[in-house]
Symmetry: C2
């Protein structure tokens, strides 16, 4: 899975990209792996080029966030359309979704009627081959379009809308395509051993446990070391995953304590 | 400027990428613009390909974070070296920096002497053409290497180390190359007008103020709209930047209030 986040606000550091972390965590937990996250600005050329490059790497999914709304700076659909050599057309299902939302708002706000302005119709102009996905929280529909063996999914940038669509419509689909692979992780907090002393121990343990990926996260300094070791594995059988992690944890603990370090397991979750 | 963040922990959603937001904000404030942020895993091939693709877009700077430490999963220097068709060599200045750090730790921890293990020497093995940059907080030096007209700077992933090196060594350099361009921004909080009603007003104001970029950030829902408008501009003269933003703010406020919306300026900072 590749994630592409569209938005100048991310490039000027105005907004912290919590969307990509949320998506990465959910996708990983569903048993798929995120291989790349790209953040680009609100420019059609930049969006279309980035999507083309992503498709060339043949991921199962390209998930974009941002740029689906009614304003001029919402350019993701135009970018996707250009990347697919397609064109934007008013999708009748999408238009129905947008109309129903505004009719609902009109009732809630005790207006008699809402105009279907061009800014509102814009949200229903999607690439010709795409299908809209209903947005249970906001107005702009998400879209889904498949090209060769990659499925492009465009989600809104507003976190509550992105999360709601993901949970309602994407999570079941991604779960199916993950072949029931389970992602399993554990953490070990270490003190009293420097990261540079730990390095050869990790080499040894990784070599003997090739299914387990271990990453060290220094939290203190080299001189007053506190290190979090993060262990992760994927496996089709939950038992195998758990066993691999448990075996690696025991081995690591022994080696670290033999070097004078102390360890505290931190969490151990499925 | 392109930012490349290296780390599996970012791709599995374990870590929130606060580094890229911090860098993006600092770089923007210094008058340069960030055009792309890419997050990739701890793989030499992936790092070298991503750096090559970035260089092909001819940015002034490519700044990487993460992957400079002593452990096997710290692969950024190998990736940069491969991207430059270079090779890693022990840099004597870098080795001196690493040695001095460990000698200091040895004194602090009342050890008589620290071994210069291969894991520690690893941090001084940098691409042949690169220079090390001293790390005032941690052990691993940052590095700087220029290829054609792009300067690649590799910073550590530990936020305190990344920030310290940026402020001490990079900030003065980036400031010089930004030609004294100033980035200026302001925000306007709006209620009582839907984003889809706002869209044509923004088109009009943007068209009349081509130097000012306006982006709408919906905070409520379409039916109960609260929208933050973010205005930004860059200019060589602070006065011009301020004037452009002020004029745009006045125009926007008038148009929005004429449509029944209300506005509260939020902040107005240089």
């Amino acid at each position: 899975v590749e994630i592409i986040c569209v938005g100048n606000e991310l490039l000027i550091g105005k907004t912290l990209n919590t969307n990509s972390q949320w998506l990465a965590k959910r996708i990983t937990t569903l048993g798929l792996s995120v291989t790349r996250i790209t953040v680009i600005g609100d420019e059609v050329k930049s969006i279309s080029r980035t999507i083309r490059k992503a498709l060339a790497r043949k991921p199962s999914y390209v998930i974009t966030t941002g740029g689906l709304g009614p304003t001029f700076d919402d350019k993701t659909l135009e970018g996707i359309s250009e990347a697919l050599n397609s064109r934007l057309v008013i999708n009748q299902n999408a238009l129905k979704m947008v109309k129903e939302k505004y009719a609902k708002y009109a009732r809630e706000m005790a207006h008699s009627k809402f105009e279907l302005t061009s800014a509102r119709v814009k949200m229903a102009r999607i690439p010709k081959e795409a299908e809209p996905i209903s947005n249970p929280v906001g107005t702009a529909p998400a879209i889904l379009v498949t090209k060769n063996n990659s499925t492009i999914i465009a989600l809104p940038g507003v976190p509550s809308e992105m999360k709601a669509i993901f949970e309602e419509s994407l999570s079941p689909m991604l779960k199916t395509s993950s072949d029931k692979t389970t992602f399993f992780e554990a953490s070990l907090n270490i003190s009293g051993i420097m990261e540079s002393e730990l390095a050869p121990l990790l080499d040894q343990v990784m070599c003997e446990n090739p299914r387990v990926y271990i990453k060290s996260h220094p939290k203190g300094t080299e001189a007053k070391p506190r290190i979090e070791l993060h262990l992760s594995t994927t496996s089709e059988a939950v038992d195998t995953a758990k066993k691999n992690i448990a075996k690696t944890l025991v081995q690591l603990t022994e080696l670290i304590e033999a070097k004078g370090g102390s360890t505290q397991p931190r969490k151990n979750k499925l």
